[in-house]
Subunit: 287 residues, 2 copies
């Protein structure tokens, strides 16, 4: 077991965690100042500052990426909609490459129109087929530029509007089907409840090469007051994070621990200094 | 396929659907008046009127039960806590028998103390073991009085505080392990997202005897604004209910369609006449 008590070598900040307080250039500078060596930024945050400016800032500060958020959103009810999604994913792959990300995270999408409040289909099997086809359509480009794609299974409560891949088993099956260049982003918040989790992490890590491309952490609060923006700081909820980390490490994972906390009424309202200080402490003590 | 356009023979009202408006004796009378021939009442609603009075009312009106809500809540961090749960489940079995319910629905419980806001353990595997042991401990009594037990897999968003059995596969595995007298309550709201759903319904129905003890319906809204009390009326959400019903029927299910809608800000605030009228119409048109 690595010793997390003395350094933060394995800590990465998903930049959604302080997105309410700071723009991305500031987040990078503040992480550098605190010895946090990695982040995972979102496309809209990058666009707000400028891709080249962010790439330059990363080089200057030595901050690495643990992933790039995000591609996906493949299902659509028309061929044109599916093509638009594929084109957008190709651009996301290129951006990820410019930023030297180790992977592009895929939030695969749900039922067409659901997220926009204009449901176009209730056929979740068709949506899942669109996801497989969509990943298949971008995988060659991703491999040609050397950008691994990481499917992030989302909690089943997002099956309708954000991602119809909701288990590690489903993500592993897609990797079986589509082959190399594709792996999984394991987010504790989304998968902690799964009775097959340990086995499916082993399956992903035991593949050759390993499919364990990313590991995201935060905590599940009881009660959870909002489906999207009430995630907890590590240690404040019910997830046995040290056990999950042990499973990841036993399966060979040696990557970053990316802290991703959406928290409209708590952490997004606090002083970002306090947020990052707490993240560092809880990463050490409670994950 | 049965014809639902001409009668409501297969409609049952889970009495939580109008619990904010009417007490249970009134619900029974109102259902009888409308030709709704079945309900599924909750223990607290029965207790509020009196078990014997409800049993008498059911006989007088000819209203049947499609299930009795509910037993379960097995996990505890002490032997005393686990025994208390088992004793309470035995009483629930006896009440279900008095009311001539076709099954006692089990909401199995989550992490000890989580629902009470006093988390005592993060060990979900231990909670799952408590569930298996707890059901095992009451099954003989249930069989001796002839009361089938129906495990209700709850949506994974309730894994921490309400039920750590969250998939049909897990419920089927418990049935495999514990044997006859045990089956499953399939609730569309909880399981609609599951990529293995069709297969696991087939597995449950194909067992001898069938494990398909109950079928609950409502709809998943996008957005869902509350984890517990924002369920939708059939047709207002994203679930392909006709497809689920077809899977149930193909697997041999011939029981009631129990409508169970928790809706603090919508249906619980409406005139219960309108709620039941809408339930009847949507049962016919959208499920």
């Amino acid at each position: 077991m690595r010793d997390f008590s003395t350094d933060h070598r394995w800590l990465s900040i998903n930049t959604a965690t302080v997105r309410a307080q700071w723009k991305l250039d500031r987040i990078i500078q503040e992480c550098a100042r605190r010895g946090i060596r990695a982040i995972s930024p979102w496309r809209d945050q990058v666009a707000a500052v400028g891709l080249d400016r962010i790439a330059k800032l990363l080089r200057e500060t030595g901050i690495e990426l643990s992933g790039y958020c995000r591609g996906g959103m493949f299902p659509a009810s028309t061929a044109e909609g599916r093509k638009t999604a594929i084109d957008d994913n190709r651009r996301a792959i290129d951006e990820a490459k410019t930023l030297e990300a180790p992977c592009l995270v895929l939030v695969v999408g749900g039922l067409p129109g659901a997220l926009q409040g204009q449901l176009e289909s209730k056929d979740i099997r068709a949506a899942r087929a669109d996801v497989q086809d969509g990943i298949g359509a971008i995988l060659d480009h991703a491999k040609s530029v050397g950008m691994p794609l990481a499917i992030e299974p989302l909690h089943p409560m997002y099956a309708a509007d954000r991602a119809c891949v909701n288990t590690m088993a489903h993500a592993n099956a897609l990797c079986d089907e589509l082959g190399s260049g594709l792996g999984i982003a394991v987010d504790a918040y989304h998968v902690w409840w799964d009775p097959d989790l340990e086995r499916e992490i082993e399956r992903a890590g035991g593949s050759s090469p390993s499919r364990l491309f990313a590991y995201h952490i935060c905590d599940w609060l009881v009660p959870t007051t909002d489906l999207l923006t009430d995630r907890g700081m590590m240690g404040d909820g019910v997830i046995d994070l040290p056990m999950l980390r042990a499973w990841m490490e036993r399966a060979g994972f040696r990557g970053m621990h990316e802290v991703e906390i959406f928290s409209a009424n708590n952490w997004w309202k606090r002083d970002p200094d306090e947020v990052l200080m707490t993240v560092k402490a809880r990463h050490r003590e409670a994950s």
